[in-house]
């Protein structure tokens, strides 16, 4: 790999951190706005459910998301504050469907200690000010003027240093905050302050309340007429105001999220750490609070945010499981739950660990993640591309074409499958037992190759061979009429639809026929100056049986022409350039937009926008799909039309949000494809590949496929073993008994069924920390090695752990040997036929020794001290790269002769690591806890020992995501002869559920894309006026420096979403054609 890296998201964040409801896009429309850490999504509430409107990338990690209604406005504004101390106020412009920045700013202070309990951002209910608590001891105020404009911010000193929550109180004549805090004796209290805007200071507020529940953590302000605040503890809930105090005990729980139900604030939904949903009711008489009541409603995903939407439907946003749309029923179900899950939304976060495997052995990596937490823990199998699920297959060599036919015009299903060979045509048909068997259509010529087949009006079928066009009854299968090619000419290419036939013979003759009831009429004939290579009359206009346009590809001048029908006049001629002839053309329509697709003999595909009335071709784009000639065919899946491009790299072309997308198909080489929608195999495809005919169904058309294996417990480590075809995981299960206890397991899963097939329970307090499948020198067996730690409540760091060595025997985990360690085994690696373990501050190498009795044991060979905690270890040859808790990356080397491990070099920066990986011999990649990525380089050529002992930082980048794991591998099928196949990649998984790819580029490519990135920064502006350059700058407590040697692939690939004029603008600045630029960027999108 290299120092020039391209970082791109394959799976966007799915962890829902915030949500709010309001009239954002129009005064009449109700919107749900959700934040997924670095993105917001705007949804519209409709009778059909939640309708996604827009996914908005934010150049920051969202700390606060609030909707508010400034005075005199008809709809809500959105306030967003980011963790790097930027904020913005957004407004929706319904006319242009754009987000407008009303205000933005920087609210950082040069000095100040960032708050431990997260940032707080609140808006006064009467819109007099925005309050921010970002640094201990300071409360920042951004005042509104009377026109709703923001004014210069100022700080107020806040005496309370350990603040847990701050909210504005409703119904106060002066803006008043209530502060929940902990004192230096760990007791918790609330206090109120009025904000004196003129004096820029606090004034003692109307009331305070001391000595609350020790677990009090959340304040809920109550709107008028009741006003006051609810204080949510772990054992009590208290209502407090200037003149009332009510408390109720609750079953011990930690409330994670709340959602207000009624505008008058009398009911609230509370979600706790175990995923239980409660309803809290404030009972009141004559605007006086008389008491509190709480009821359990049922179980949901563990909520991080709750938004009551409308008509008893509630959105549950989750960080630990799939987010949900639920309905609150009036009557409980059989299990006593009032909660009904209407819909759930995939969340991969937190991805704690993952592995890359090729389960289907097709040469394509799949990512299996440990996702979710607690009861919502799961494994997720993430695969790129579209899968064909084989239903039936038969060996058939030499297929030259395939078409499906119906037995009558209005039959919804296909009956016949016509398979053409070089010198014969065979008919397969579904029999009564729903089996495919050889059949006959008597009226067809079966001793010659078929060039094209189609069903036609009046219960007819049309067959085109090299000498004639035949019309056959589909009910009697008998011959009705034919049209013969003039003698001396043979038909080279042909196409047809239900009423029309277009064919070309040698000499450039183009003949147009129309189909009647038992009649074929030659309507028009024309002679072209060159031979015709391909043609199409797929109807995409209003009439589904008749096309008014024909597309024709030409030899010699390498052009594609659009003809009008029936008069056969050329209305458009487009030269394709180059020397490669068009091999397949297709008129098609996606999401109401008409296109002409034109595939070349070298695996390139051109697409044009097609104007149906004039035949004009615009917006030419070129992509590389493979290296062999492509055949294009349409097919339908779930009533939507897509295009299948059969080639050495089969691809499905589809449209999403009015943009063409290309998705790989998990097959190696497909020569022909035709849709085959039979009663037994509905919505199936017939596929000719490598001497085989396969009938298969196709996955949902989308780029990434995610399959969920719910575990009901929290998986923390995963490893695959090829030999036993199993996965092993370290997991933990919480027992919700009186004392919250957890039990840790090593579990063995079948790699096809994902069922638990064997379990090993760890000791009390013993955690599984690392897992590895490996083999040892002089032993042919393959083992699972597990590193553990005894985590005792009284110890700061574990002082004891174990290495357990298991073998899979008859599907069971057999413990072969174990070795006690003096600390937590954070990492295990196979190393020169031995086992390398990271144990607390030490790296330790173990030999696999044969004892006299024939059993094996791990024997300590050598080690290396000098780390704070060696958490992440990767090895390559004799080199060991260690990611330390707080001392960045160091490079060790194992010396065989001395049998010793020595330090070779280190990075002297104080980075707190979260993952490391070796990119190549000299370059190592790290992720750290301020959401940055960096690369360091071994300096072997240094002049002095000091220089050689220093790992030089060569790349820095703010990812904005907490990376838990890097793994070498690829999400896409690697083809050696494609450009993309040459780019080495590393996959990463993050807490927010992001799966990303880091691709190492050639220097020339990096320079080109860096230029593109800087041009894109000028055109694509950061939402809320936030700067892309600042967002990607490496940032920790000590320094902020511009990103270097990393490119933001998400920004670069958004080039493809731009309008044509913006593309032109950028292409001009880059000095290359739009076509070339599109092609290069499109290629990058195929990395993920």
């Amino acid at each position: 790999m290299s120092v020039w890296n391209y970082v791109v998201t394959a799976q966007k964040p799915t962890n829902v951190t915030h949500s709010c409801v309001g009239n954002f896009t129009s005064p009449q429309e109700l919107n749900l706005i959700i934040a997924k850490c670095t993105r917001i999504e705007i949804h519209l509430l409709t009778p059909q459910g939640l309708q996604p409107m827009l996914d908005v990338p934010i150049y920051g990690r969202i700390a606060t998301l609030e909707l508010f209604r400034p005075h005199g406005e008809a709809q809500d504004f959105l306030f967003i504050a980011t963790e790097r101390y930027k904020f913005c106020v957004l407004q929706w412009d319904a006319e242009t469907s754009e987000l407008i920045t009303r205000a933005m700013g920087d609210v950082s202070d040069r000095i100040g200690r960032p708050t431990d309990n997260g940032q707080i951002g609140i808006i006064d209910p009467d819109c007099r000010l925005i309050g921010l608590h970002l640094y201990d001891g300071l409360f920042k105020v951004i005042p509104f003027d009377n026109k709703g404009q923001l004014k210069e911010a100022f700080n107020i000193r806040l005496e309370e240093l350990q603040v847990l929550d701050i909210k504005f109180l409703y119904g106060c004549s002066k803006p008043t905050i209530v502060v929940l805090y902990q004192d230096n004796k760990d007791a918790r209290h609330v206090k109120t302050y009025e904000v004196a805007l003129k004096d820029k200071d606090f004034v003692e507020g109307p009331w305070s309340q001391n000595n609350l529940d020790n677990g009090a953590d959340l304040l809920i302000p109550v709107p008028p007429p009741l006003c006051g605040v609810l204080i949510i503890g772990e054992e009590t809930i208290v209502y407090c105001s200037a003149n009332a105090f009510k408390a109720i005990p609750i079953r011990p729980s930690i409330t994670r999220a709340y959602g207000r139900v009624d505008a008058d604030g009398s009911r609230y939904l509370l979600g706790d750490h175990a995923g239980l949903l409660h309803l809290l009711v404030i009972t009141h008489e004559k605007e006086k609070v008389t008491g509190l009541k709480i009821e359990l409603l049922g179980e949901t995903a563990i909520a991080s945010t709750i938004s009551y939407l409308d008509n008893a439907v509630v959105y549950i946003g989750s960080s630990y499981g799939d987010s949900q749309l639920i309905k609150l029923n009036l009557q409980p179900d059989a299990k006593g739950s009032y909660v009904e899950v209407l819909e759930s939304y995939v969340n991969l976060g937190p991805i704690v660990d993952f592995c890359v495997v090729d389960l289907e052995r097709q040469g394509q990596g799949q990512v299996v993640t440990c996702s979710g937490a607690y009861k919502d823990g799961s494994l997720r199998i993430v695969r790129n591309g579209i899968g064909i699920n084989e239903q039936a297959s038969v060996e058939l060599q030499g297929i030259k074409g395939m078409w499906s036919l119906r037995s009558s015009t209005d039959d919804p299903f296909d009956t016949f499958l016509v398979v053409s060979f070089i010198s014969e045509t065979r008919i397969l048909a579904m029999n009564l037992e729903d089996e495919l068997e050889e059949s006959e259509i008597e009226g067809f010529c079966s001793q010659v190759q078929t060039l094209f087949c189609h069903y036609a009006v009046h219960n007819q079928l049309v067959q085109v061979t090299s000498s004639c066009v035949r019309l056959v009854s589909s009910t009697t299968r008998e011959f009705r009429t034919e049209w013969n090619a003039p003698s001396g000419y043979s038909i080279n290419v042909a196409t047809a639809n239900a009423t029309q036939v277009l064919l070309a013979t040698g000499g450039g003759h183009l003949v147009y026929l129309e189909i009647g009831d038992g009649v074929l009429t030659e309507v028009k004939h024309t002679q072209m100056e060159y031979e015709i290579s391909c043609l199409d009359i797929n109807p995409i206009g209003e009439n589904p049986n008749y096309s008014q346009l024909a597309a024709v590809g030409m030899w010699t001048d390498i052009s594609v022409r659009i003809f009008s029908l029936p008069d056969l006049n050329v209305i458009t001629k487009e030269h394709l350039g180059g020397e490669i002839i068009p091999r397949s053309v297709l008129l098609c329509s996606f999401e109401g937009i008409s296109y002409l697709l034109c595939a070349l003999g070298d695996g390139h595909l051109l697409n044009f926008l097609l104007k149906l009335d004039t035949g004009e071709l615009t917006d030419r784009k070129k992509v590389s799909l493979g290296t062999q000639p492509i055949t294009l065919r349409t097919f339908s899946s779930k009533n939507v039309t897509h295009v299948f491009a059969a080639s050495d790299r089969p691809t499905v072309i589809y449209s999403s949000n009015k943009k063409l997308l290309y998705s790989n198909v998990n097959l190696k080489e497909v020569s022909y494809m035709c849709p085959f929608n039979s009663a037994a195999f509905p919505d199936s495809l017939a596929i000719a590949k490598e001497g085989e005919l396969t009938i298969g169904t196709i996955d949902d058309i989308q780029k990434l496929h995610i399959r969920t294996i719910p575990l009901g417990e929290h998986a923390r480590r995963i490893c695959h073993q090829e030999q036993s075809r199993t996965f092993a995981i370290c997991s933990l299960k919480n027992q919700s008994s009186a004392e919250e206890t957890e039990t840790h397991f090593i579990r063995l899963l079948d790699d096809q069924s994902f069922e638990f097939i064997s379990t090993y329970q760890l000791d009390p307090f013993e955690y599984g920390c690392s897992i590895l499948s490996c083999s040892f020198s002089d032993d042919i067996n393959v083992y699972y090695c597990v590193g553990t730690a005894y985590v005792l409540p009284e110890e700061n760091e574990p002082t004891k752990g174990r290495i357990l060595v298991f073998m899979v025997e008859e599907g069971k985990l057999q413990l072969i040997t174990e070795k006690e360690t003096k600390g937590a085994v954070y990492s295990l690696n196979a190393f020169n036929g031995k086992l390398l373990a990271a144990i607390n501050q030490k790296i330790q190498l173990y030999k696999w020794m044969l004892r006299d009795d024939g059993s094996h044991e791990l024997q300590s060979e050598c080690g290396h001290h000098g780390h704070i905690l060696a958490l992440y270890v990767q090895t390559r040859g004799d080199f060991i790269v260690v990611g330390d808790l707080m001392k960045s990356i160091s490079l060790l080397i194992y010396k065989h002769e001395e049998g010793a491990i020595e330090e070779r070099a280190r990075d002297y920066n104080a980075n707190w690591m979260s993952a490391v990986e070796i990119l190549d011999d000299d370059i190592y990649l790290g992720a750290e806890n301020n959401f940055n990525l960096f690369t360091v380089r071994k300096n072997s050529e240094g002049a002095t020992d000091e220089e050689r002992g220093r790992l030089e930082v060569v790349g820095e980048y703010h990812l904005g995501e907490f990376v838990n794991r890097f793994r070498h591998g690829s999400l896409v099928m690697r083809l050696p002869d494609s450009d993309v196949g040459q780019i080495p990649t590393v996959i990463f998984g993050t807490v927010n559920g992001v799966i990303g790819v880091i691709a190492s580029l050639r220097h020339e490519q990096y320079v080109f894309l860096e230029k593109l990135q800087s041009n894109l920064r000028k055109v694509i502006k950061g939402v809320g006026g936030l700067s892309h350059e600042q967002w990607r700058s490496f940032n920790n407590e000590k320094k902020t420096v511009d990103a270097k040697n990393f490119l933001d692939g998400d920004l670069i690939e958004s080039f493809l979403d731009l309008s044509r004029s913006r593309m032109d603008e950028i292409a001009k600045a880059m000095g290359v054609s739009v076509e070339e630029l599109c092609k290069r960027v499109e290629e990058l999108t195929r990395l993920h």
């Binding site: 242009t96 920045t101 004196a196 805007l197 309803l279 009904e340 759930s344 939304y345 969920t708």
Partner: protein, 95 residues
């Protein structure tokens, strides 16, 4: 319980009226279009780029007191209220 659970707020009775539960084992992957603004109103109006006042809290208090000390001397003949206010705790004069 029934009374607590009934009468859920409704803004538009049509919302969700046609929604049918989907298979929970097949979570949906909604993919709205990604927004890439290219228009100029993404930049805030120049007077709405907010910063924090540069004066720290101590200096601000210091200057304010100094101003308050000066003010009564000039304003004494015109209006006695500010002077009166000056002797009061700040709470009563704020806002």
């Amino acid at each position: 319980m029934g009374s607590m659970l009934g009468d859920w707020p409704s803004f538009d009775p049509h919302n969700f009226s046609q929604l049918r539960p989907t298979d929970p084992s097949n979570p949906s992957k909604m993919t709205p279009a990604t927004y890439h603004p290219t228009h100029n109103r993404t930049l805030p109006p120049p007077d709405q780029v907010i910063t924090t006042e540069a004066k720290n809290i101590l200096l601000r208090n210091f200057y304010e007191r100094a101003e308050e000390k000066l003010r009564p001397k000039r304003a004494a003949s015109e209006n006695l209220i500010p002077e009166h206010g000056c002797k009061q705790p700040r709470a009563s004069t704020s806002c």
